[in-house]
């Protein structure tokens, strides 16, 4: 669709990187349509904290620089605000490409700071166990591991949330949890195949 990889049957994974990212994105990524205009970075509220602006990241992807792209903090700092998405003159599905890059970085073990991947994974573990999110369990596990020093300044907020009944100490479990587990188990097999 985009690179010549398919035509010449080039097996170098770096040559096929753009194609792979597109392939693993939910909708039609349109990533190959990027004209490097920089509207995305200019619209981004958190660009200041990123290793690369989205535009730079897309250039890395197209250049086949897999390791640089997957070790960048950019997808993890993306706040999914979709400002860049609605402004992009080429309709690139930027936010969805960021999700793809996160999952690829986790699988390739290339992103060094584990804070964000751990948070996502812990959240997902809770959802896979109970079928609902479980904020109390998530917050305690996450803060103990990644922000122990932040706990004192968080305490008033946590107590406030508990006393105002805005956080449950025990998790809620859906009735069809076995059904959900069966669906997710099958989905994970399909993930590996595609």
């Amino acid at each position: 669709m985009t690179t010549l990889a398919r035509k010449f049957n080039d097996t170098d994974p770096n040559v096929r990187f753009l194609e792979e990212v597109s392939e693993r994105t939910a909708g039609v990524s349109r990533l190959e349509m990027c004209i490097q205009c920089g509207t995305c970075g200019g619209s981004c509220p958190s660009a200041a904290d990123m290793d690369h602006t989205p535009r730079m990241l897309f250039a890395l992807i197209r250049a086949g620089m897999r390791e640089e792209a997957l070790s960048s903090n950019t997808p993890w700092i993306c706040v999914s605000c979709y400002h860049c998405v609605v402004r992009c003159p080429q309709d690139v599905h930027i936010a969805d490409v960021m999700y793809t890059l996160k999952s690829m970085a986790i699988q390739a073990k290339l992103y060094k700071d584990s804070t964000a991947p751990d948070f996502s994974q812990t959240f997902v573990d809770m959802v896979e166990t109970y079928g609902r999110s479980y904020e109390f369990g998530l917050a305690t596990r996450h803060y103990l591991k990644h922000f122990p020093l932040r706990m004192p300044s968080m305490a008033p907020m946590g107590l406030g949330m508990l006393s105002k009944k805005r956080m449950d100490i025990t998790p809620k479990r859906i009735e069809g949890i076995e059904q959900l587990k069966a669906i997710l188990a099958r989905a994970k097999q399909l993930e590996v195949v595609s």
Partner: protein
Amino acid sequence: MNKYLFYPGCSMDTSARAYNESLMAIRDVLEIDLAEINDWNCCGATEYLGINLIPAYALIARNLALATKQANGTRTVVASCSACYLNLAKADHYMGEREALNVHVNDALAAGGLSYKPGSLEIRHLLDVIINDIGLDFVRSKVVKPLKGLRVAPYLGCMVPRPDYKKRWSDHEHPNELDRLLKALGAEVIDFPLKTHCCGGHMTQISPSTAFELIRRLLQSADQYRADVMVTVCPMCQMNLDAYQRETNQHFHTNYQIPILFFTQLMGVAFGKEPKELGFGRELVKANQAMSRIGVETPTEEPKVQPRRKKPTGLPMPTMPGEAVEEE
């Protein structure tokens, strides 16, 4: 009476309890029937999408499949949380756009005896339904206590007006729907320039300084416009701006005290409901002072005496403009 299938999402039972309580309290006035989707599961927020593609979409699609089975005289699913709304809409949209995703997700759903055909449901946010189905004339006709004199910052956040697959909103960046609703309630609505900017999302958990900066921008702007309260349509936005306002103040040495309420709470007040049944008092930044300006008494707990952090005999500390200098 308009009938809808209702996807509340996890927060409505916990952090956004006030949203749920106020919505339930105004249901009758709005004449809407919300049938909760039986045994719905978490939508995965923004977390699952960044881990595994097919499981993330299968998780969302289970809800759509359950909703289809339950569809009784309606095919419209209403979500109150912006992130849930977007995830449900996104699954429906991308399953329709990309056949491979549709096939894989349905293959996974089949393992649980379910299926979903993209396009068979209409996914909408609660605000959209109130504006476009119920209509502002109807809302206006139900107002018994106009919110005259209350300066409100309308804060819509990101995921309702963007990416907006079905083009339902007046604008991606400066939509006027929430403004118009609040004006219909009689409130004084500021022209809030950051109305669709980001609240920080899950960054409060993984990169706090990134989140605090985004929260600060919103609070500062609302404060500059002298807003009494900020109104949100999303549990995540409310949580970040309300529960993390204290930590944001600590981080920047500021002293913002802006109550963050759900739009349904203000609708309830204007409809003459008791503040107690509208979830007032659950906010961490107290709303009672702001609400008392329009003669509404909202419940609050007795303020506990906090231990003094600074000794009065200590070195003089710089104060922010507008911050009262403490005197012993």
